[in-house]
């Protein structure tokens, strides 16, 4: 039980206290009693700054101390949420991966026709990349590091995603909607064009520094070319 000063009880009883005041009061009491409560805003700030720092300086330049400073919080607070640097990278990477996979399979089914399913993937993947450029840059960095493997093996949700993608390809092959080819070659043709265009867009320029803005028409154009290469 917390000792709430009398005047504040009166305010509470008359129901004149608003939500903001209540939260301030709660924080005040927790601080006074050395109680810790989960602060979602603070957690969000930590995640944002960690992504920024890792995208900018890579893993080597990143430290818990630097991150705490950037967030204007104590190092101890950071360690409340994360055991160490690896734990932090794995947790943030896992959240982003889950967000990415959830968005990628939105309204998608491996039972869709190959063209329809692949287009849905293109739509979902481009929407996610355009909405979350920093998260995508962060995931690109960790994808090929030991963290990437650890994250993908950390949840059955990720293996479900892989299974669904494999099922989609197998169905397309069985239905004669896809030319049999090496998996990596398939991936490069199926998604490579989209990611190249998304990268140009992120940079704001294409070959030779030519200014570039990606349009839906271009995505369609590239998709048609990719489908032409993949279909028998």
């Amino acid at each position: 039980m917390y000792a709430i000063p009398n005047d504040e009880i009166i305010i509470l009883n008359k129901k004149t206290i608003n939500k903001r005041t209540f939260i301030h009061l709660l924080f005040y009491l927790c601080k006074k009693n050395r109680m810790r409560i989960r602060d979602i805003d603070k957690e969000k700030l930590v995640i944002e700054n960690a992504i920024d720092q890792i995208v900018q300086d890579g893993f080597q330049g990143f430290s818990m101390n630097k991150l705490a400073k950037a967030c204007n919080i104590s190092v101890a607070t950071l360690y409340i949420y994360y055991k160490d640097k690896d734990d932090l990278i794995l947790k943030i990477g896992g959240t982003i991966a889950l967000d990415f996979f959830t968005n990628t399979v939105k309204d998608f089914s491996p039972e869709m026709s190959f063209e329809e399913g692949l287009w849905k993937q293109w739509e979902n993947r481009s929407l996610f990349a355009l909405k979350n450029p920093k998260e995508v840059a962060f995931f690109e960095i960790i994808k090929h590091s030991p963290y990437g493997e650890a994250i993908l093996n950390s949840s059955t949700k990720f293996s479900d995603f892989r299974t669904s993608m494999h099922q989609f390809i197998e169905n397309a092959l069985r239905n004669n909607e896809l030319v049999p080819m090496t998996f990596e070659v398939f991936w490069a043709i199926a998604y490579g064009p989209l990611y190249t265009l998304l990268n140009f867009h992120k940079e704001g320029k294409s070959m030779g520094g030519k200014p570039f803005i990606l349009t839906n028409k271009m995505i369609r154009e590239a998709f048609q070319a990719a489908i032409k290469a993949l279909k028998p």
Partner: protein, 75 residues
């Protein structure tokens, strides 16, 4: 289940060496009041993180000091 944040204790130490066979390691591993513990060896402060519903920061400091290491609660 999510860990109650008030059961997590954070300390600055000088435990620089990672050695699972050292007596302190074994003591912390086998302590019935410690649910979880870890040290960030990469950090300059070799931050020790202990999850315990029972132990107070001073008691944890005492355990670590017994093995000849410095230990100070981080604010």
């Amino acid at each position: 289940m999510e860990t109650n944040l008030n059961t997590i204790h954070i300390f600055k130490t000088d435990i620089g060496e990672k050695n699972p066979d050292c007596p302190m390691h074994i003591t912390l591993d086998n302590h019935s009041d410690i649910q979880q513990w870890s040290i960030d060896y990469e950090d300059v402060d070799c931050v020790l993180r202990v999850v315990s519903e029972v132990l107070k920061p001073n008691e944890i400091i005492g355990i670590v000091n017994e093995f000849g290491y410095q230990c100070q609660e981080l604010p």
